[in-house]
């Protein structure tokens, strides 16, 4: 075996690559020993050994999908890696980290989740665009800049939120000025009269952990469709039992339908 002095600081081969750990801040190595991992499409950058990638919906994977994948909307973005060898995962040179869940639950922005062990089960969060992992196992997530862990009660910027664990789902928080009549709405939309850009936050309360990234650059959101039209399902566009014009777009400062305000 020839040597290549000066060829970068570290040369990896299957013996020196870590098993289920980071190679550097931006690359994660997964070891497969006849086991399976779910991973998001296109996040594998290289592998040693023999590994098969099969889309969710591949007949043979039926049982696995039944037990650990419960999000039809995201099925086309995920594949199952199966075989033996070591595989490197990375995403747009974003920071990559692995997390262990022990009989827990964690909700994460769908674009940030790279891979997870089938011992966890994936479900769609009731909050649109987020996924929830439940169970025990390891998963890998990407973030723009290192992840910061915070404890509720806390209000966070929507773009910096990566996910949350063990605490109740967040609610929207609007600053007072945002809500006061027409001027508040105009100010929020145009920035005239001084909008700080931070009038809208997500608020977390209760016990748990909130994961933040140290930048406000988001992963590209992928259109994954919507949840089925059904009364009572948030984000489905289904009827909520209100007035027929309830879906009309509204200025952020507006308080609601006129009819409703006058009790008509």
């Amino acid at each position: 075996m020839s040597t290549y002095p000066g060829a970068g600081p570290v040369i990896h081969d299957p013996m020196t690559l870590p098993s289920d750990d980071n190679v550097n801040n931006y690359t994660f190595c997964v070891e497969l020993k006849g086991t399976q991992w779910f991973l998001q499409k296109g996040k594998m950058i290289a592998y040693y050994g023999s590994i098969d990638f099969n889309g969710i919906g591949h007949g043979r994977l039926d049982r696995l999908v039944r037990s650990s994948f419960h999000s039809p909307l995201h099925a086309s973005d995920w594949v199952v890696a199966e075989g033996s060898g070591r595989m490197l995962l990375a995403d747009r040179a974003f920071d990559v980290n692995s997390y262990d869940l022990e009989d827990g639950n964690l909700t994460i922005r769908s674009g940030n989740l790279l891979a997870f062990q089938p011992s966890l089960s994936l479900k769609q969060s009731i909050v649109p665009g987020f996924l929830t992992l439940i169970g025990t196992g390891k998963f890998v997530a990407a973030s723009n800049g290192p992840v910061v862990f915070m404890e509720p009660p806390i209000r966070v910027d929507p773009q910096a939120l990566v996910g949350w664990a063990d605490c109740p789902s967040p609610c929207h928080h609007y600053d007072y000025g945002y809500m006061t009549g027409l001027m508040g709405g105009l100010r929020a939309m145009t920035g005239l009269g001084g909008a700080s850009g931070e009038e809208h936050q997500f608020e977390f309360v209760g016990a748990g952990t909130v994961l933040l990234q140290s930048s406000e650059a988001l992963m590209a959101e992928q259109a994954t469709g919507t949840v089925p039209h059904q009364a009572g399902v948030p984000g489905s566009g289904g009827s909520t039992g209100g007035s027929p014009q309830a879906g009309a777009p509204r200025l952020p400062g507006q308080l609601g339908d006129l009819q409703r305000r006058f009790g008509l």
Partner: protein, 210 residues
Amino acid sequence: MFRLQGSKVLAVEMTGDAVKAKNGSMVAYDGQMAFKKLSGGGEGIRGMVTRRITGEQMTVMEVKGHGTCWFADRASEINLVGLQGDKLYVESSNLLATDGGLRTGTSFTGLRGASQGNGLFTTTVEGHGQAAITSDGPAVVLRVSAQYPLTVDPGAYIAHQGDLRQSFQSGVTFRTLMGEGGGEAFQIRFEGDGLVYVQPSERNTIAGDV
């Protein structure tokens, strides 16, 4: 003498010798430097014509002088590669600088290039000396040996060196057409003995969305 200052700036100390670098990549220098654009990458008329035909164009300048010259390219990470008579294959867009004594050329890559959207040809660097290649995020250097062949996603591949054979694998099946593909429809398999450089990010490729 090539030296990294941080991970995104290349410092080259020169004592009258020359380096070839990507046009416009100089960010600072001290001492006396002369910059000269090399038409056709300093590969002569034949190389120039080849590059024009193969679409593997690169605009290269020659920097010569005494002192230190710093190079950088769009804040991408820089990796140093030492060459001892072997050949480095790298995409022309990822090549930042080479020692003046290294020969550059073009070579046919076959289907891998096509799947990357980079054309059918790649740049080669040959000789004794150092080269600097850029990557989106720090590159991971992976060794390929007889018992450990390596498979790489074309979008993450940036360079390889040594005695490697590459073959193109396509996993396109009827499932891919039905939108149930494995997501890794195109792969390059490296066999032999050498090093492969991959970046923790994927360029947009035809294969990227398959």
